[in-house]
């Protein structure tokens, strides 16, 4: 991210959403962006994956300007974004179909990631037959299926009940700890500070709108992390004090 800004214009008036932002992601980085509601976190993610152009500045992916159809970047959405008329298997295969993968290979890869997220047994199920957590697992399997270098997640747990969310966080971390599985880096947006401290190696803290970076913190707590430890709460408190 090189000095990326974003503004929206209405009746000739400028509404600044993001002030110049500059940061990078490296191999094996798990980075969370936190900030209050409306600070431009989701807009930032949309710019990073190329779905939204920045007003100024540049997003470079491996040295080249990012494009929305970059198959090395995948996205997991808050609302799951599944096709209700497709089965779990078909939803996961969709990303591979867009990539032009051969049907047999598509099937094999989809099964591998369906298994990785614990959904074997539900291949033929439709989204309406799944719980919220399972729907999000489909979204994750679909994103991982294209074997991206970078996985972006936009508030992936905020539509789930607290128990399901906690379980899914742990399972994502379990997947992340397996270096044989993609991605090589994760960028997650969340409004939940505890969640960021629980999951990330690095937390980028944005101010309220227009979002500007107020801190970039390296969370050096060993994994698995326990939210009851005083050190954990030390980080949570520090981030709260930066935002409020």
């Amino acid at each position: 991210m090189k000095d990326v800004t974003k503004s929206f214009f209405e009746n000739g008036k400028e509404f600044k959403v993001l002030e110049p932002l500059r940061f990078g992601l490296a191999e094996r980085d798990f980075v969370c962006v936190v900030g209050p509601s409306g600070c431009g976190k989701s807009t930032l993610l949309r710019i990073i994956v190329g779905l939204e152009p920045p007003t100024s500045g540049q997003v470079l992916f491996e040295g080249q300007p990012i494009r929305a159809d970059n198959p090395q970047v995948a996205m997991v959405f808050q609302s799951f974004a599944l096709f209700p008329w497709l089965t779990v298997q078909q939803n996961v295969e969709l990303g591979l179909e867009a990539k032009g993968t051969h049907p047999e290979e598509r099937q094999r890869i989809a099964r591998k990631f369906i298994e990785a997220v614990g959904l074997t047994g539900f291949e033929d199920a439709y989204p309406r037959e799944l719980s919220g957590g399972m729907k999000q697992r489909v979204g994750i399997a679909r994103a991982l299926g294209i074997e991206p270098l970078l996985l972006c997640m936009d508030e992936p747990f905020s539509s789930l009940d607290p128990l399901t969310a906690q379980n899914l966080r742990d399972e994502i971390l379990q997947l992340w700890s397996n270096p044989d599985l993609p991605p090589r880096a994760v960028l997650m947006v969340t409004h939940a500070i505890e969640e960021a401290v629980y999951m990330a190696d690095r937390v980028i803290v944005l101010s309220s709108r227009p979002g500007r970076m107020v801190a970039e913190l390296s969370i050096d707590l060993p994994r698995p992390r326990n939210r009851k430890e005083p050190e954990f709460y030390g980080w949570v408190d520090e981030i709260y004090s930066l935002i409020v």
Partner: protein, 174 residues
Amino acid sequence: MSNSHENVGRAVAVADFRSMAKVSVGQVLGLVEAIDEVGGVADVATISQEVDMDLDRLGPVLAAAEFLGLLTVEDGDVRMTDLSRKLLSASVRERKAILRRVIDDIPVFRMVLDAARQARRPLERQEVLDSIAARAGSHQAEDLFKALVYWGRYVELVQYDSRAEQLRLRSPSK
């Protein structure tokens, strides 16, 4: 005497399995993780506060976790079991295998699996509902069927085609 005792036991088991239609595996595992995080034992009120869920929503999850042998609830205290400790340190595939052994032993589940095995063909939804109703009463049949399909799929013993409304056995992945 022993027969009536057995029947009561079976009725309780059937009723408990029905409650599993209301919860997901993610919720059950999330609850076990939350209790592990507070040291493996806590009173229900503390857990409710910890996980930010009121007792109306937490109750069915607690009941399902207890039914599966993952937690014990006694005098208001919720305690992890050896099985849940094993489950937490297991991989995704091992978790399924652990829960498969538990679920395979549930009488209503066993009854449907045996029927499918003997029939050597897919079972129609309606015939499964009828056999559950004959055993547990028609008011419970829909919930039990839902639990059977959901948990049966999770532990990879059941395959269900919701369009054709047919249920068949499947072999767990190795």
